[in-house]
Every structure is written in C-alpha cells, then in structure tokens.
C-alpha cells in the first residue's frame, strides 16, 4: 500500500493532528450535533468543533484505477472509493481491498497510513474491510 506524500496546511492541520493519533476527525455543529465534512470552510459566526468520528462506514462505490507501469509491464491496479461514514458524511479515499472483489456496501474501517518517510509526511486515512482491519488491530 503506497500513499504519496501529503503535507498539512493551515486548513487541514487539525485533521492531520487527528490522523497522527489514529482518529478520523469531523467537524460538528455544537448547536445541532450535525456532523460536517472536515473540509468545510467554517462560517465565522458558526459554532463548530472538531470531534473524533468512529472511523467506520460502508462503501458507496469503488473503482479500480489502472496505472500504467513505466517499464511497460502489467499496470498497477489501485482501488479507490467513496465511503459513507457512520456519522453521515462521505469520504473519497484509497481502499485496501481486493481489486477483484465486489465491495458494494462493504463495512470498512479507517487505518492510518504514513504517506512518506519525512516528519512532515502526514498519516492518511485508508479504509479496509472492517473485519480485516479489526483483526490487524
């Protein structure tokens, strides 16, 4: 499983603070309890807080991307997908799953994968079949 390096910026810092701790963080409206995508640009008048989500969800859809090999060999098959998080928001992500499997509505759980060797390379959430992810924990 190779994830290319990702570094934080101001807007994503709180999210990556979470991934470093093994947490998938969402924003939540204090007034209503509604969960929002972590990329939501906050309205200064709104009372939003960061909160750790369960890190679980189900696969809404998936695709197997074929990356052509530089040496002309067999293409690498990379599984990506949309996960509906238990709290409601959708998250587009890498799936650590069998490219030949039917992943429709599969229960998945986040695992946090280092995106590179350097100190500023953040951990990125990747979703794996919930049973396997639980087994690995």
């Amino acid at each position: 499983m190779r994830i290319n390096p990702v570094a934080r910026d101001e807007e994503s810092a709180a999210f990556f603070d979470g991934t470093a701790l093994g947490e998938f963080r969402l924003l939540r409206r204090r007034s209503t309890g509604e969960y929002l995508d972590p990329r939501t640009v906050p309205d200064p008048d709104e009372d939003l807080e960061w909160t750790a989500a369960a890190g679980t969800g189900t696969v809404v859809s998936w695709s197997v991307v074929h990356k052509r090999a530089r040496d002309g060999g067999e293409p690498e098959r990379v599984v990506v997908g949309i996960v509906e998080l238990a709290e409601g928001p959708w998250w587009w992500c890498r799936l650590d799953a069998d490219p030949d499997a039917d992943l429709w509505q599969l229960p998945v759980r986040a695992v946090f994968v280092p995106s590179g060797p350097d100190p500023d390379h953040e951990k990125v959430p990747v979703f794996a079949p919930a049973e396997e992810a639980d087994h690995a924990r």
């Binding site: 994830i3 290319n4 390096p5 990702v6 570094a7 934080r8 910026d9 807007e11 994503s12 995508d37 990329r39 939501t40 809404v60 859809s61 998936w62 695709s63 197997v64 991307v65 074929h66 990356k67 293409p75 990379v78 599984v79 990506v80 997908g81 949309i82 509906e84 409601g88 928001p89 959708w90 587009w92 992500c93 890498r94 490219p99 429709w104 995106s115 990125v124 990747v126």
Partner: protein, 394 residues
C-alpha cells in the same frame, strides 16, 4: 418563464452563426488564437462583421490565455456585455442562455460566445493532457491524488459503478453507446475517430478506471468554437438558417465530494431538462435530435434517463435495445459522434452539432426531421448541468 412567453417572437433569441477552428491534434495555435479564430469564423458564417458584435462571453478550458484579452485580440470596440464564465462542461449552454437573456432584454444585439482549449502538446500522451498537472502535495487538494485517484476518469467511474450496482447496468450496455456514436462519427468529416468499432472492441479496450474501458472515455482535442446569438428578427436577415433558442435551464446539485445521495443515480439534468422543455413548450416526445454531453458513455446514459427518454434505472436496457441508437436508430443521439468520437470542446461539442443538425447542414449524417433539438452540458463530477432546446419551426 411566463414572462419569457410574453417576449415578442421577433425579440426572442436565435443562433445566427457557428465558427469552428480546425479540431483535434492541431498543434501550433495557442488556445487564445483558437478563440479569436473561432469568433471570426462565427461572424463570417453569420454574414456579419466583427464590428457588429456588441457582446462577448468567453470560456476557457484547461489552458490559460482565453480571457478578457480576447476583446483586444479581435479589436472589438464599445462592447455592451463582456465577461469570462466558468461552469465547466455546462458553460457553453449557459453562455447561450445568458446571451439570449441579454438580447431579449435589449442589453446587447449580437453576442459572441466562445470556448477554446489547447491541452494537447505534440509528442506528449493524450492522458497527460488532463492528468499531468502537478500541485504541491499539501492539504485537502493533495489527498485524492496521493491516495491513487486519477482525476475525472476515476471520479466518473465511481458514479457509473454506483448506477451499475443499483440498477444492474452493465459495461456492455455502456459499450452500446460507444459503438453507436462511432457509427455516427464515421459519417462526420469533423470527427477525429471514424473507424467503426464493435462491442467486442469496446470490451477488449484496456481498462482506464474500472468499470471504464478506454472506449468509455472521451477524446482530448485542441481547438475553438464560437456561436453568434442575436434576435430572431435579425437572424432571419442573415446568411444562415436561424436556429431559435426556445428554452433553457440549469441545475447545480452540489456537494458531490461531501455527500450527494444522488451521485451516479440522478444528475442535474433531471431538473434542467424539464425546465428547458417547459419553457420551450415541448415535451420529450417532441425532441427530434438529442445532443448529449458524453465525457463518458455513462454521462450520456444518465442524462438520457434524467431527461426522460426512458425510466430511471432503465438507461442500460434502453441504449442497448437493438435499433435504438446509431444512424438508423429510432432516437437520433450524438449524431456527430459526440465527445467520444468526434471532438472534445466541452459543451461546444453537443452545441455545435445541434446547430449543424437544426440547420439541416449535417450532410451524410443529417437527420431527416430536425425541428426540435435538445442540447445538454455537464460539468464537474455531474455537478453542473445546462440544457437548451433549439428549434427551426415557425
């Protein structure tokens, strides 16, 4: 919409000119040069001078330079309407809508709407044209690329897969669209790909992003296209058969990456299509020709469903029905080959072919009955939709 019906017929908008540059693997001119060339050709086509243009709407693709500098490049003076617009693949249809409103309001008399792009570079792979942009891998914008997504191909593949799993749509059904459109393209001298293909060719073409094969994906093209919008009264005095702008609509569902319960199942076409047809006073049964945005086979299938040519979820069976699509089919769809086989100029691809068909200038591919033509534009990841109903009757 009621107010528009009260617009006197002579004041209603019509398309009087169409200008296409050389299209496809055309190297040399910049996108900016293509834009100016397209406007000049559209004016020539309409039989007007550049100095008759008093409104200009500009739309860029992926390459920079197609912007407000166009006024000076064309030497246009004293414009009364001028801006740059961006709603991705829905822009071309939207530009015609804004131009029509300006003409009907009396704000401008003759509006040129132009799109140009030059993503292809000689000696570089086509795939690099839309996938090769490098950004600093920082923050939210870097997550998808770093996680293995490969731009629109993979995003639309997710939408298609959801439709397939929900409704039982198959890859072979998507292939029926590719095969039918190539058969149309074979009759279109403007088309880049004119060699007929079979369903077996579609299935054997390499995977780009499963479930999409190569032959599910559109071309990439260099070139420019422009149209001239004016009043129906004025258009009737010009060089070409006037193509009336009978109705229009837009829809922008939003939020596709964060939570859009309809992603891949229903697009904005389900709103903009009926709105445009209602404004035009027509129903789906009245449509003679449909020029449908087809960045992927799936986009065309979903849009046909959303417009109501078949029931929701029945698109796969519908397009694969023998005798439905293609040059001898019951429904004339993407009669130039579409973005899959002719040329990819975003929303200008369906719009330009719609104008050619409505005028009756399609040559070998001309559809016999072409009074009412439906045109779709689709942008983002099914985020932006525009619909036009064009006509030549009455």
């Amino acid at each position: 919409m009621t107010s528009r019906r009260e617009t006197p017929a002579r004041r209603r908008a019509a398309i009087a000119g169409l200008g296409l540059t050389e299209l496809g693997k055309v190297y040399g001119p910049s996108a900016r040069q293509f834009a100016a060339q397209a406007v000049r050709r559209a004016a020539d086509d309409a039989g007007i001078g550049l100095s008759d243009i008093d409104g200009l709407l500009v739309s860029a693709g992926t390459t920079p330079g197609v912007d407000l500098s166009l006024q000076v490049d064309l030497g246009l003076r004293d414009l009364r309407l001028f801006t740059q617009m961006q709603a991705f693949g829905s822009t071309a249809g939207a530009m015609v809508q804004y131009a029509a409103m300006a003409v009907e309001a009396g704000m401008a008399d003759t509006v040129a709407c132009v799109f140009a792009d030059a993503p292809l570079k000689q000696g570089k792979a086509t795939g690099a044209a839309y996938g090769g942009r490098r950004t600093t891998p920082t923050g939210w914008g870097s997550l998808l690329g770093s996680s293995g997504f490969a731009g629109p191909n993979s995003f639309y593949a997710l939408a298609a897969r959801r439709h397939m799993k929900t409704y039982g749509t198959t890859s072979e059904q998507l292939g029926a669209i590719a095969v039918a459109q190539r058969a149309w393209a074979a009759k279109n001298p403007l088309a880049q790909l004119r060699e007929p293909i079979t369903l077996a060719d579609h299935q054997a073409s390499r995977f780009i992003a499963e479930p999409f094969h190569l032959l599910d994906c559109c071309l990439v093209s260099n070139g420019g296209a422009a149209v001239i919008v004016t009043s129906a009264e004025r258009a009737a005095t010009l060089a070409q058969p006037a193509v009336q702008v009978l109705g229009w609509g837009q829809a922008h569902p939003g939020n596709s990456f964060r939570r859009n319960d309809n992603l891949g199942l229903v697009s904005g076409a389900a709103q903009s299509g009926p709105a445009a047809m209602e404004m035009a006073g027509v129903t789906i049964e009245d449509i003679d020709v449909a020029e449908i945005y087809d960045c992927y086979t799936f986009t065309a299938l979903l849009t046909l469903e959303d417009y109501g040519f078949c029931g929701k979820g029945e698109g796969g069976e519908f397009v694969a029905t023998p005798g439905m699509l293609g040059p001898d089919g019951k429904l004339a769809v993407n009669t130039g080959g579409g973005q899959l086989s002719s040329y990819y100029l975003w929303g200008m691809t369906p719009l330009s072919e719609a104008i050619i068909q409505a005028r009756g200038q399609g040559g070998e591919r001309q559809v016999p009955k072409h009074d009412t033509v439906l045109v779709s534009g689709n942008g983002g990841i099914l985020d932006h939709h525009s619909t036009l109903v064009l006509g030549t009757e009455g």
